[in-house]
Symmetry: C2
Subunit: 230 residues, 2 copies
DNA sequence: CACAATCGAGATCATCGCTCTCGCTTTGAG
DNA sequence: CTCAAAGCGAGAGCGATGATCTCGATTGTG
């Protein structure tokens, strides 16, 4: 059963389909990704592809997972390039990596952070890879100084938010200041909000290149969190 | 030429199409909005609808404009409910209104702030209505106290961002502190980033109800901008 | 070798956006 | 008032989509 001709042929074909699908996604977007186009390009009948993928959605799911993983790996790598004690640098690098990847892969970004495709519910398999990016951010948050977030006029988390934050802290392995986590979650949304505004056209004719504004937001967050190098 | 039977019939039919389209959008999302479904519901042949709309995209464009206008009006109204000198209250009300509308109209929200539909370029007519929401925010920003944003460790805008900000300040009628505008733009992205995370599923199993976190972010921004009532 | 599992092709179905033509009705100018 | 022009709706049709089913052919295994 191992190394059979059919096994290898099947694996090769699956890889081909994935490669072609990824290319189509990158070039024309998720909505233009058609089973028939892939089958044409592979010289197969459309029905033949259904031996390998149960539906177009399954194909999309795979692409979603791959996109999450690609982005996650890219951000992890960027963060790791900074020294182990250079927390601020690591945060900045990770944040800039998010935007860099998104700008380089707009369709993949739209697939994972844009409006969900209709009638498509993200299966369980996608939540794992989706966690990688936020894992990097949470890691950096561990080295934030909560003092800025405990000033007298700093709004406190209400009971509802406190409970949610508490719950998230537990899932994420503990030892994070609640205010830091709340602020981190907001910053997380800021980063992706800025990228989405840039890629989806909301910044058109104001911040067409959102790079400088994005960097500013990152520096702002890093400063507020008192992230330091060394 | 005025008040003719045909004129009124045409207007009534256009209104019907709009109403049905809006309902389909609200119930099933933009991708499921089909000319044929509308024609079926109206007892017309699909081809007949093309006397009224040149294409499905034109229909979508109208829905986009209406969505922007609805959200804009909703936010304007919420902001106006606060007293004229209650700037912080006005900001909070406007921000909460954004999320409230989005949660109540997820498909409309996705249409205007989600990934752009493929091959569809937002025409000029959409930028006007799109400006209403941000107009409210800019108005409030006029009453912000820039002092917090000029501290010694506050990151300065680089030359590129300064120039973009300067340009935006001019288009928006002047008299805004550059740091305030930059911070406001970032906060703008934060609000919509949070809403998108909530509606598009990114917050699933962490902040499923993002209301408390959203409110926290709003209070945070209002405090940083030193917005005050009276 | 024979049998079962796998595979690919082709036909088919329902759906979609959109175009074209044909005939009917309303309109407005002479 | 007439009558041509313009507006309108239906129907057929084109090219495309995702998906299913059946039918041979190929392959791997007992």
């Amino acid at each position: 059963m191992h190394g059979g001709v059919r096994e290898r042929a099947r694996a090769a074909l699956l890889a081909d389909v994935g490669r072609i699908a990824r290319r189509h996604l990158a070039e024309h977007g998720a909505a233009d990704l058609s089973v028939r186009a892939i089958s044409r390009e592979m010289g197969l009948a459309p029905s033949a592809l259904y031996r390998y993928y149960p539906s177009r959605d399954a194909l999309l799911t795979q692409l979603i997972i791959e996109a999450y993983d690609e982005l996650g790996e890219f951000v992890e790598h960027a963060a790791a390039a900074a020294g182990p004690e250079r927390h601020r640098e690591r945060f900045v690098a990770a944040a800039l990596a998010i935007r860099e990847w998104a700008v380089d892969h707009p369709h993949e970004y739209a697939l994972i952070y844009g409006s969900p495709v209709p009638g498509y519910a993200a299966p369980e398999d996608t939540i794992g890879p989706a966690t990688r990016v936020i894992g990097v951010l949470v890691d950096v948050m561990r080295h934030a100084d909560p003092s800025t977030l405990h000033g007298v006029d700093h709004p406190d988390l209400g009971p509802d938010l406190a409970e949610q934050v508490h719950h998230v802290i537990e899932l994420s392995g503990g030892d994070l200041d609640p205010h830091v986590l709340a602020y981190g979650a907001v910053q997380w949304a800021t980063l992706f909000g800025l990228v989405s505004f840039e890629l989806f056209g909301t910044f058109t004719s104001s911040f067409d290149d959102a790079g400088p504004l994005y960097r500013h937001a990152v520096e702002l967050a890093a400063t507020t969190l008192r992230l330091t190098d060394t």
